[in-house]
């Protein structure tokens, strides 16, 4: 199977049903992802993660899914494709 190019990170709460459904969806589609269940962290870690989540989504909504594409070096074609530049 081709290696997944995009990094996927999920900010979730262990208690939130919508978060569970999103995870099921990702699993069903064989998406590799990292999940952070913010409510299970200690208070210092929660502060850090909430701040990080706020950068992506000021609304601080759970679940929030962040999909990032990593481009190594200056690859014009890859940048065009990632940013949908015609």
């Amino acid at each position: 199977m081709e290696e997944q190019k995009k990094k996927v990170r999920l900010y979730a709460l262990s208690t939130c049903p919508e978060c569970k459904r999103l995870r099921q969806f990702l699993d069903e589609h064989n998406v590799k992802y990292e999940v952070i269940e913010v409510d299970l962290l200690d208070s210092g870690e929660q502060w850090v993660m909430t701040k990080e989540l706020k950068r992506y989504n000021p609304e601080v909504y759970y679940p929030t899914l962040v999909i990032e594409e990593v481009i190594s070096g200056f690859d014009g074609e890859a940048i065009k494709e990632a940013l949908d530049i015609k």
Partner: protein, 107 residues
């Protein structure tokens, strides 16, 4: 308390207020499980769809039913968590949209 028993109690409570629980029972039971988890964690049933601090005074507005429930049902037909809904929302007569967070950003 079990999610099933809480379901029975809250569905009667919702009806008494002219609203109802989401007809997706499986989803509702998951919310109720989250509420009970938060109750054993913090000592009160804070919203399972939001991050609680564990300090009751700070979380007072998100103890279920949260203070945003009624305005959210009025404007969108459902609460933030999709636990309490209007009859119209449940019957699909109201467009299903994501409910924006009314809570102040300082939380």
């Amino acid at each position: 308390m079990t999610p099933e028993l809480l379901y029975e109690i809250l569905s009667k409570y919702a009806e008494s207020q002219g609203i109802q629980l989401n007809k997706d029972r499986e989803y509702v039971l998951e919310i109720l499980e989250g509420l009970l988890t938060n109750e054993s964690r913090y000592g009160y049933r804070s919203c399972p769809c939001r991050l609680a601090t564990g300090v009751k005074e700070k979380d007072a507005d998100i103890i279920c039913p949260c203070v945003y429930r009624d305005p959210d049902i009025k404007d969108y037909g459902r609460c933030y968590c999709r636990l309490y809904v209007s009859k119209e929302w449940d019957e699909g007569k109201v467009k299903h949209v994501k409910v924006p967070e009314r809570r102040s950003k300082d939380h």
